[in-house]
Amino acid sequence: MTATLFTNARLIDPEAQTDAPGSLLVRDGVIQGIDIDAPEGATVIDCNGRALAPGIIDWGVKIGEPGERHKESFRSAGLAAAAGGVTTIVARPDTLPPIDTPESLEFVTRRAADAPVNIRHMAALTKAREGREMVEIGFLTDAGAVAFTDGVRQVTDTRLLSRCMTYARGLGALIVGHPQDAGLSRGAAATSGKFASIYGIPAVSPMAEVIGLDRDLALVAMTGCRWHADQITTARALPALRRARDAGLDVTAGISIHHLTLNEYDVGDYRTFFRFTPPLRSEDDRLAMVQAVADGLIDVIASFHTPQDEESKRLPFEAAAPGAVGLQTLLPAAMRLYHQGGLSLPQLWRAMSLNPAKRLGLPGGRLSVGAPADLVLFDPDAPFVLDRFTLLSKSKNTPFDGARMEGRVLGTWVAGRRVFGGKP
């Protein structure tokens, strides 16, 4: 029996939405309670007033296994996660080949043991992510898939998608959609507007997201399935989301930290580390999305960690691969939202930890008694300048290279076991 007492901590409780001083007792990898006496012989960790919160649950991480291990392995992603305060990675199935059979899911589940943090897997929704035949949703659910998604490939065949949704409803499976109209989005690398026009970058109207969302919500209303939008990034899509919520549909939505902290002008002189799918939006949209997170209309913030090697990015903007690594920068980037006053720490942890846990049926994301001791201890104010080559991910494609950031992770625990940081 091992017991650890975190004393003198600033406890961030996303369930109670509180941010208050206190102590936390952990025994055998499980949270025992707040402000209770420690048993004889317990290890005491003095947090010096730093913030202690449930570990981040990062929903939508790309890992290069199988197929692109040179970009990221379970081991390297796990180390980056631990250093970034992420205690659970929810991995994407858009690998080479995709995770679309119980056998391939079993393979990645076995490989994931290399990582020092929890790893859960999503599975593809259609075979080979081709949008033609549904995967074995039942077998994959039994094998541990927490959700089903074709990633950024929208299923364009609405009849097939409606059948997938109907079948998934019967099993209680969660479908994750990418609500961006495929036709309008074809070839686009920026959001249409003055910036994209002046720089001559192929662009897509933000309306593509409205069309994609409206279509998927209509299918959800038709089939009654559990559904989650991977990223909602424009203000114009919010009314539809709110209507669906009010109508009682089982719908949630996420957004990437990049869309909450950067806008289209950050691309500047064709900087390919700022190329994302969907593309970065206007400043008005960014502000509206921060507000939507504060209001709880957007449920989940994630990094959408997408490792790309140098060669995929050393290309003209429209030819470069989209995405950025984010496991290690999610927390400091989120601190920008905290310091700018847009979101409190409990609000941020609701979106980065509690809500993903609830939606995916995971036990973490809470400081309550009986929850696993997946914890992050961090200093929200510690400043630093990010050097991308210090990141532990195999790929170094971050838009925050050289950026001044605040928020340093001092320690990370998974089931009570320390996986990052020395003495705080």
Partner: protein, 320 residues
């Protein structure tokens, strides 16, 4: 001398005095080019490589002639057909060329921003000869010189740019240049060929060509970029000509002394009526071609001067 740029990647980076400096120097080269002996030695001993990742006849010939008249060793690389097909990346191609120690690199590429990317990786002066839908600075400069010579000034003119604005790098560079020189700008075209956000660019937008041309001093026609159209911007060429093709009747709406311009190559009967294009009283299309060589000579000359000065400072160990 007011011209500090190391590369000529776009009009965006140029100040009005830099533009005027370049145009003034180009005037000298216009005079030189009209002589029988057309040689100057501004680039003597220097190597100029023309690297065209996109097919071009006119621009490449113009740059080649400009370099040769200034005494440079000029080499044309038809990269559109060679190493790119073998999978070499843009940066590797650039580094390979850079190792051959060129002094001036003239680059055209189908992707916006590709020339900027390349300029970061080489240590010679780079001229953008057109990148995707982004910029084509020497075209805007030669247009400016043509306007200045025809109208006697380059400010307070009403200039209408007509046609395929969305897909045109010529339009972008011209908007930037003519805007910097304080002209009144109008864009005319079907809304499918108007760039998003054009309303925020300080220009007037017209979908009716007659209204847009009213009182214009300069009518700048653009080529319908068929190769850049991935389907369905206009229903047919004949409908396009009917609504946006420049013919005598539409031109009559412009100022009586309005000049007609076109960057070429022209689609006669699509965006411009052949008789207008050939009307020596209105059309300055041939002058544009002539000014093109002179403007490119001026650009090469100025960049070469800055390059020499930079190397001189480096050799003398001066911190810059």
């Amino acid at each position: 001398m007011t011209f500090r740029a190391r590369h000529l990647l776009g009009i965006d980076h140029l100040s009005p005095p830099e533009i005027v400096t370049l145009l003034d120097l180009a005037e000298d080269y216009v005079a030189l080019n009209r002589r029988t002996v057309k040689h100057a030695d501004a680039l003597a001993g220097m190597t100029q490589i023309n690297m065209f990742f996109e097919n071009s006849t006119r621009t490449q010939a113009s740059f080649e002639l400009a370099g040769k008249r200034l005494g440079a060793d000029v080499m044309n690389m038809a990269v559109a057909h060679s190493s790119v097909k073998k999978g070499e990346t843009l940066i590797d191609t650039a580094l390979t060329l850079n190792a051959m120690q060129p002094d001036l690199l003239v680059v055209r590429h189908p992707n916006s921003g590709a020339v900027n990317l390349l300029a970061e990786k080489v240590n010679c002066a780079v001229i953008n000869a057109g990148d995707g839908r982004h910029e084509h600075p020497t075209q805007a400069l030669l247009d400016a010189l043509t306007i200045r010579r025809a109208k006697g000034r380059l400010h307070r003119l009403t200039i209408a740019i007509c046609g395929d604005i969305a897909n045109s790098r010529v339009a972008r560079s011209n908007l930037l240049l003519l805007g910097k020189m304080e002209n009144r700008l109008r864009l005319i075209g079907p809304s499918t060929l108007m760039p998003a956000g054009a309303g925020e660019m300080g220009v007037e937008l017209f979908e009716n060509m007659r209204e847009g041309l009213k009182g214009a001093d300069v009518v700048m026609m653009l080529r319908l970029q068929k190769e850049r159209m991935d389907g369905g911007f206009i229903p047919s060429e004949r409908e396009y000509f009917h609504r946006f093709g420049l013919d005598a009747e539409k031109l009559a709406c412009a100022a009586p002394d309005a000049i007609v311009m076109h960057p070429g190559p022209m689609n006669r009967g699509v965006e411009i009526d052949g008789t207008i294009a050939d009307d020596i009283n209105r059309s300055v299309i041939q002058d544009q071609v002539e000014m093109g060589v002179a403007v490119r000579m001026a650009a090469l000359d100025l960049l070469a001067r800055n390059l020499r000065a930079e190397r001189g400072r480096a050799a003398a160990g001066v911190m810059v």
